[in-house]
Amino acid sequence: MVTVNYDTVLEDAVTVITGLLTCDYKLSRRAMALLLLQGDQEATLMVRNIEPACECIMAGVNSTQQKFEQPLGYVIMMYRQQTANYILEQVTTMRQRSDDWAGYLSYLTMWPVTGIPILLLVLYVGMYKFVGQLGAGIVVEYLEQVTFGSYINPYVNDVLESCLPWEALRLLLGGDYGIITLGFRYAIAIVLPVVGTFFIAFSLLEDSGYLPRLAMMVDSIFKVIGLNGRAVIPITLGFGCGTMATMVTRTLETWRERLIATFLLALAIPCSAQLGLMMGMLSAKPVAMTIWVMIISGTFMFSGFLAARLIPGQRPVFYMELPPLRIPNITNVIIKSYTRMRWYFWEILPLFVAASVLIWLGKMTGGFDWLMRTLIPLTTALGLPGEATKIFIFGFFRRDYGAAGLYDLIETGGLTTAQLLVTATVLTLFVPCIAQFAVMTKERGWGIALCIAALIFPFAFAVGYVLHCSLTVMHMLL
């Protein structure tokens, strides 16, 4: 065992405090005394609650602190570091490491001239090509049209037709909005491939050690919106799943940063299911796509900028260890992606089923029609057909659910390009899905979650309205 020897002032304080401690802490009394001197909150709280002589103990801590210019935690750490260095010198030899290819590549990812193009390349290949085109394009199309469209759905409907004599029950399971034909289809054929490819891409980046480099490249941009580079992890994750990303905001340092990140995730970060579908639908119309990207990123920067100025609190500080770059371990990547996909799938499937049931209930009782009629003036104001109302209602159950509904509407040729652009914009900015909202209430509390929703809802429709008006004025035929 190694004992660190402190100077006489500290050692005397430790002796005094140790003598005053009477309870059992599972730690040695010396360790407990040192924790108290370092100002450890948990230890202090414990001692305040159970020690009869707690006033004397705290007085001892304070009088010791008076004798030092630096915080005691710092002084104690210095002595420990000296001891650690002494031990290290006895048992290790340092060799100058020659820079290998990983070191060179690491340098390229951090030098701005090459770092920024590499960052853009990573986003283009990882997000656009792999998630957008392969996941949301090819895989979704196959599962959606072939697996479900030609096999599962017709089969389910045939079976239901011949076995279930009750119309209402048939509609609950099959038909246009059934649990199997809609709930399962959206969860398996549309969302899973997109989220799955995203998780694979994210795990690859995570395992290669590139994420901290990404964080340092974007730190100065993130400072503008009141965050620091560290927030790149929840924000990037938000492009995968906003619900998961909102949970991850707890890794941020301060309450202020967690609040800003939660808000931006709810407002301006489209999740992978939405993003994939939006890309799929808008990619054939480059002008509409550019406008959409500009509005969403503009909203992200602008609202972040405002939030950074309006929300009080400490300025964000950035520091991060940069681990060496390495070739991702395929087993790690597979296990991580699989675990995340499984977690995600079991989390969303019940929600999709519940949404199908709610829609079914709404249709049966007429509540759904009533809600649609009530909201139609709002969609008409945006210059959209009444059909689009359905998408916004779905969108609340699940953002991706709404996006998938939009996809259906395009397939049937129900929207012009301008209408598509307005719908896509409102749907992206719109309230987070019900799962993300639930996590917001859990992580930030009901008050803040409701405030965020109350801010976003009118904002999304206002942006949609302004966009609709400007497109009309400009007679833009996209």
Binding site: Y74, F318, L322
Partner: protein, 79 residues
């Protein structure tokens, strides 16, 4: 010990190196975290780059930090 020229990390140029003398940042929470990463007085530090953030090497560890933190690290850069 012969005291050399002192300056904070924020004023050093890439490639310069020295020995950390002290950390001046007022917030003890961040102080602890920097120290946990190995940014402690007595260690030799090499400044690798200053843009878009500061990157230093201490021992075998590379650490990125922003200007605010870099300016809180006082370094003895010798003669």
């Amino acid at each position: 010990m012969d005291k050399g020229k002192r300056m904070n990390l924020g004023k050093m140029k890439p490639g310069q190196q020295g020995q950390i003398i002290r950390l001046c940042y007022i917030d003890t929470g961040f102080l602890h975290k920097l120290m946990a990463l190995g940014v402690v007085p007595g260690e030799r530090v090499v400044l690798l780059q200053t843009f878009p953030t500061f990157v230093v090497r201490i021992g075998y560890t590379q650490i990125a930090m922003d200007r605010l933190l870099a300016e809180s690290v006082e370094v003895d850069i010798g003669g």
